[in-house]
């Protein structure tokens, strides 16, 4: 294998190794472990940055190892402009987030666990974006959901955190299953087993009859992960997580996995009427709903969360719009958003950490206390608002250029993005400017600048948003253009720079800014208006989720009451009726009933044994009390054991004797323990039913055995064992040799079952013994 290949494998594994080491490191180094752990994403960043040149030149780097040959599953990765940009964002922002967490959770008892989860997520996300084979894509996709669940529920002492974690897991996990189904459909339709193979099929998928099914299933995965309306509700709830998580998972990376998927599939699934309708409509709706709901909030993190929902909507809308420029805009906006939103989240966290509140109405005048944070916040807010000379400005110019290409369709979406962008402008400055200006307000904690770990992240990200725009030729060449080429499937050159170019986009940008300033100034009345409106509507998907969960629980309780009613007699009746029917119905249906058996003359002692068995049976039926019945059942069993002996199966007979003895002993013990009345007083109706079920089962089994013994007997196995028992297995007792040697694995399984059954019975007996008040399982 090539060296680079080996290193990429290490890069994919390293975060998980870091996750394993994190708790120990944190125990040894305290919060300074962040400096060491940050080396993991730094390594990833440097490693993936090494591919920049090759990929900017238009290559795609693949690699991997075959994993399960028989299932055609590989551990393989595929790096092109799209996955590389994502990989760099994940590892780059990941570095800052690890450092930030070191400051944010300094002194927290579970900081080691937090690092561990964050690195685990990083590994999953990294794997997701570079995965080539469908299986890997799916596994990493679900791993990100699980990591997100762990991180949202990090503060698991609070019920809100537990609920949010579970909600995110259910929504994104269900989406993951939908994605799995979608990938299977795609594989069926095209035969492709990996993304790189899929990208080669061209129009194959679009023209496949299963296109619609594949599209809907994939969208189910992408829309839940990327919080598109009406699945957006889990994302704001996920703000229960510590702020580094919100900054990393729920704005910069994980929620973009859905967008990544759509962009990845755009070359093979896009450019159809369906794609270009569904995506913009859902994305546009999400954009408007997200921004309107953001206006309603006063919590800094929630405001940012709803604008994240809106931004994701914007990205989906642009990806599905169907013009090359719109895709370029999506690419630029995605990069810009990761930087400014990550920075703003970290700012919100730092403000919360230093002042003790993140309620917008309780903050003000922080510019003097927290100057560095303020600078970072302002830069990020300017990028979010789309002001020159920031990367957000380039993105917005491109958005308007991409959407406003003519037709009423684009006029409508221009209006949508105009409103959305203006509101995002207002929210961006509400978060990035308002807490820092105006009169100094008394906060729960005395505000002062946070430690370097807290401001490093936002400063670097905000500065990156500025530098990437100033040196746009550089960033386009290495990041934006290769990524846009990967998304469109053709070589694309992005040329936009901060130098203003007079035209419609610039005009629309100006309008956006004017509208945005207006919205910023009227934010408070707008908030009250939104609050009244939402109160009037009353119902939302979040509440719907609760209703859905409650309904599911109620349904399962209802079904359980019917199926698992706790009455042993009903279980047994059902089991035996099912047994009898499953034997009798096929036999009658397929005409496999046995012919009348030929009776051989029996010897005197054989008759005697049979008569003893029958007497035992009669005694069971007519026994006056239960104990007699149990012992009589043993008589019948012994008689059968004797028969085995007479017919030349000593081992079987031996075992039968012991099993019968122990059954009698154990049954008798159970009977005394259950404190049943000594005799059997079933009502006549019950008796009739039980007798018929018993007779039915007996008949069915008897007929089956007769039928089986009438079929031609294949001696191949018997001959083999008889021949080889001595030769191969060194034993003369064929039965034993089969048990311990030829079929040793079966026996191993069986004794494991014996032991587990023993454990279960022990537990059952204990429960009964421990709770004398508990209702006994059997009744009379």
């Amino acid at each position: 294998m090539a060296d680079g290949q080996w290193l990429t494998f290490v890069a994919l594994i390293l975060p998980f190794a870091g996750a394993a080491a994190a708790p120990f490191l944190t125990r040894a180094l305290g919060h300074n472990a962040a400096w060491v752990l940050a080396l993991v994403p730094v390594f990833l960043f440097v490693h993936f940055a090494g591919f920049l040149g090759a990929i900017a030149a238009g290559d795609a780097v693949g690699g991997g190892y075959s994993w399960i040959d028989s299932l055609d599953v590989d551990f393989s990765w595929y790096l092109d402009g799209l996955s590389l940009t994502f990989a760099l964002l994940i590892s780059g922002i990941g570095t800052l987030i690890v450092l930030y967490s070191g400051g944010y959770l300094k002194g927290h008892r579970q900081q080691g666990r937090f690092f561990s989860f964050i690195l685990m997520f990083m590994g999953a996300m990294q794997g997701l974006v570079v995965a080539d084979s469908f299986l890997m894509l799916f596994v990493f996709w679900e791993l990100t959901s699980i990591a997100s669940f762990l991180l949202i529920g990090f503060d698991h002492g609070r019920e809100a955190a537990r609920r949010a974690a579970l909600q995110a897991l259910i929504v994104t996990g269900a989406g993951g299953l939908s994605l799995l189904a979608g990938l299977l459909v795609i594989r069926n339709a095209t035969g492709a087993n990996s993304l790189s193979a899929l990208l080669q099929v061209g129009d194959g998928l679009r023209e496949a009859p299963l296109y619609l099914a594949a599209l809907l299933l994939v969208l189910g995965g992408a829309f839940t992960k990327s919080a598109q309306f009406p699945f957006h509700f889990w994302l704001p709830n996920a703000m229960e997580a510590p702020t580094p998580v919100s900054a990393y998972l729920h704005s910069a990376t994980m929620v973009k996995a859905g967008v990544y998927l759509l962009m990845r599939l755009n070359p093979v699934m896009g450019e159809t009427a369906l794609w270009e309708t569904v995506l913009p409509v859902f994305g546009g709706t999400t954009l408007i709903v997200g921004t309107l709901l953001a206006v309603r909030q006063t919590d800094l993190k929630l405001m940012l969360a709803y604008t994240t929902v809106a931004s994701l909507g914007l990205l989906v809308m642009l990806t599905g719009f169907g013009s090359e420029v719109a895709v370029e805009a999506a690419v630029l906006y995605l990069i810009a958003h990761s930087m400014f939103k990550g920075a703003l989240f970290m700012v919100a966290g730092a403000v919360d950490h230093e002042t003790g509140t993140r309620d917008l109405t309780k903050l003000g005048g922080l510019r003097r206390a927290m100057p560095i944070t303020f600078a970072a916040a302002l830069l990020a807010a300017m990028s979010m608002g789309g002001l020159p000379p920031f990367f957000g400005f380039l993105a917005k110019e491109e958005i308007y250029a991409g959407i406003g290409t003519g037709g009423s369709w684009s006029l409508f979406f221009t209006a949508v993005s105009l409103i959305g962008n203006a509101l995002m402008f207002a929210i961006g400055f509400a978060v990035g400017l308002r807490p820092f200006t105006g009169e100094t307000v008394e906060t729960p904690r005395h505000a002062h600048e946070g430690p370097v770990l807290l401001w490093l992240g936002p400063v670097v990200l905000a500065a990156a948003g500025l530098l990437a725009a100033l040196f746009s030729g550089f960033s386009h060449y290495f990041l934006s253009s290769p990524m846009a080429s990967a998304v469109t499937g053709r070589p694309v050159e992005i040329a936009i720079s901060v130098v203003p170019h007079i035209g419609l986009p610039l005009l629309l940008s100006a309008v956006t800014i004017v509208l945005g300033i207006g919205a910023y100034l009227t934010l408070d009345p707008a908030r009250h208006a939104m609050a009244r409106l939402l109160a009037a509507i009353g119902w939302g998907p979040d509440r719907g989720f609760d209703q859905f969960v409650r309904g599911t629980i109620r349904l399962s309780v209802f079904v359980t009451r019917i199926v698992q009613n706790g009455r042993l007699d009903i279980y047994m009746t059902a089991t035996f009726i099912a047994l009898a029917l499953s034997l009798l119905v096929p036999m009658i249906r397929f005409g496999e009933l046995p012919s009348w058996p030929v009776f051989v003359p029996l010897r005197f002692y054989e008759w005697t044994v049979l008569v003893i068995a029958l007497i035992g049976l009669a005694a069971v039926v007519y026994a006056r009390d239960r104990l007699t019945a149990i012992v009589s059942l043993g008589i019948q069993g012994f008689a059968v054991a004797l028969l085995f002996m007479l017919l030349g199966a000593p081992d079987l007979s031996f075992t039968q004797f012991m099993v019968e003895t122990l059954s009698v002993v154990i049954l008798a013990l159970v009977m005394t323990r259950l404190r049943l009345s000594p005799a059997d007083h079933r009502p006549l109706g019950q008796r009739t039913l039980d007798v018929s079920v018993a007779a039915l089962c007996g008949t069915a089994l008897g007929l089956l055995l007769l039928r089986v013994s009438q079929l031609p007997f294949d001696l191949a196995l018997s001959d083999f064992f008889a021949e080889n028992a001595r030769v191969i297995a060194h034993g003369r007792n064929i039965v034993n040799v089969i048990i311990v040697d030829f079929r040793g694995l079966d026996t191993l399984g069986e004794i494991a079952v014996v032991m587990i059954a023993g454990l279960a019975i022990l537990a059952l007996v204990r429960i009964q013994a421990g709770k004398p008040a508990a209702k006994p399982a059997g009744r009379d």
Partner: protein, 139 residues
Amino acid sequence: MRTLIFRTTAPYLTALMVLFSIFVLLRGHNEPGGGFIGGLIAASAFAIYGIACGVSPVRRALYFHPMAISAFGLLVSATSGVVSLFFDVPFLTGLWTTIDLLGLPVDFSTVILFDIGVYFVVLGSITSIALALEEREHA
């Protein structure tokens, strides 16, 4: 059940049955018998002891919890299969060797280890069920 005769003879009966169960276990490879049936015999021996003299003497006599004996048996059986991996043959392949025991050649194999494991699993599981049911003082 606690008649004088039963109580007096039960320990001897148990000892004899346990001895017999070991005999049955060891001869199983060539004559009728084996781990499963041996385990059943031993389990019924302890069950009888428990019925005659109460559960706590049995637990004392066994020293280990019967379930632990069962788990030990499963471990023995599983490990006896692992041995074959060191000889580059598939899992659970029987390996044979002859040991010179006091001048007497005795065939020894991983198969007999496996069978001993089966013996302990059956003995432990059944005994623990029987003893748990016999334990009436907690009921």
